[in-house]
């Protein structure tokens, strides 16, 4: 369904593009809001991402991955660009930084498909600090230094936690 819409968008079909926007923009705006924490910044990210969808829909290849992952990734990379421009490598004193995970637990919220179940199981067997660092980076868009600040841990340690976490996650996912 999403694949068909993207194929139509790739041919310049404006109606398909509008349908795609109506169907996907809420979810994607939620992801952008989570990372940008500001409606204005999230709106800019969503706009840039959809313009990129319009221009590059022909680059989506269903043989290589799902349309859902392709769309979310576009939004996340545009959000990372914007966060980078706003200087996220500079540690801030923002006391709210990364506090959002308290509201919900992304690992618990993973839904029930087969891939999702594997991810949940593999995240749960990671050490807490490794899992927490990965989730903060992926869901909240925090940089190494921001994760370090949030967890009150030296930067080098956080980098090592994330690498270790990714390594273990990969072996676990490949084994499942």
């Amino acid at each position: 369904m999403l694949d068909d819409l993207l194929r139509a968008v790739a041919t310049g079909d404006r109606r398909a593009f509008r349908t795609l926007y109506q169907q996907e923009s809420h979810r994607l705006y939620g992801v952008a809001m989570r990372m940008m924490r500001s409606p204005t910044a999230a709106s800019d990210v969503l706009q840039e991402a959809f313009l990129q969808v319009w221009r590059n829909a022909d680059r989506f290849d269903p043989e290589r991955g799902s349309a859902g992952a392709w769309l979310v990734s576009l939004v996340r990379y545009r959000a990372l660009d914007a966060l980078e421009r706003s200087g996220r490598e500079i540690p801030t004193d923002d006391p709210n930084l990364g506090d959002a995970p308290v509201e919900f637990d992304p690992v618990a919220a993973i839904d029930g498909s087969r891939d999702a179940t594997a991810l949940r199981r593999c995240l749960q067997v990671l050490e807490d600090k490794n899992r927490q660092s990965i989730v903060l980076a992926f869901v909240e868009g925090l940089s190494h230094s921001q994760v370090a600040q949030r967890l009150g841990t030296p930067l080098g340690t956080v980098k090592a936690w994330i690498r270790r976490g990714l390594q273990n996650l990969k072996s676990c996912l490949e084994a499942s």
């Binding site: 926007y21 809420h26 979810r27 705006y29 959809f50 313009l51 991955g65 990734s73 992926f138 690498r163």
Partner: protein, 209 residues
């Protein structure tokens, strides 16, 4: 340097997808993706596998302005102008057209309305002068300007000048009742091409007063 060792490469791909690489490394990976199939496959693997982590993120309705801006950017200016002109005409028919009694000279009046029918400017023509009163226009982004256009029944739109802050505009050409007017968003200083380059924000028709 993108690592050639498969395990290291997979880790860098994972860090890229998480978004924790520093700006230089991130650019390096992004630049390598189109030519390094193994790296691209590793990045896609992580994108796909981590996606379920976002399932719990609450969906939020984006502001309606976002789609308007996207639509304006993907529509060729001419098509946008004519489509907006059509919407504008319908809006004018439906919405208020204010006739103001002036004491003398040929007079015209109209409302420039946004796509959502919101009345943005009241336009009053008196002789060769045109007076625009801001009603409910959107704020103009920094470094941009509003440009007023006459849209002839056929052929390209003709610039009547930039909208000054005080709304008083002496148009570069005479205006008269029956003309369709449009306002587009342009770089500061006006359209560099002589044709509308930005989105057409407001449209309306001058009527005889």
């Amino acid at each position: 340097m993108i690592p050639t060792d498969p395990e290291e490469r997979d880790l860098v791909a994972g860090e890229y997808v998480l978004g924790v690489l520093d700006a230089d490394q991130r650019r390096e990976v992004a630049a390598a993706l189109p030519v390094d199939a193994a790296l691209a496959a590793a990045v896609r693997w992580w994108e796909e596998r981590l996606l379920p982590l976002l399932a719990g993120v609450v969906a939020v309705s984006p502001p309606s302005l976002v789609w308007k801006r996207i639509e304006a950017r993907i529509t060729p200016p001419e098509l946008a102008l004519w489509r907006r002109a059509a919407i504008g005409l319908a809006a004018i028919a439906a919405a208020l057209v204010i006739y103001i009694a002036w004491p003398q000279e040929p007079r015209s009046v109209g409302v420039l309305a946004a796509g959502d029918k919101r009345a943005a400017f009241l336009v009053e023509g008196r002789g060769s002068a045109l007076h625009l009163t801001a009603l409910e226009p959107d704020p103009v982004p920094a470094g941009r300007a509003l440009e007023l256009w006459q849209v002839p029944p056929s052929g390209a739109p003709v610039s009547l000048g930039l909208l000054p802050a005080d709304g008083r505009l002496r148009p570069t050409r005479p205006t008269a009742a029956g003309m369709t007017l449009a306002v587009s968003l342009e770089p500061a200083g006006g359209s560099p091409t002589g044709a509308p380059t930005g989105p057409v924000l407001y449209v309306g028709v001058l009527k005889a007063d």
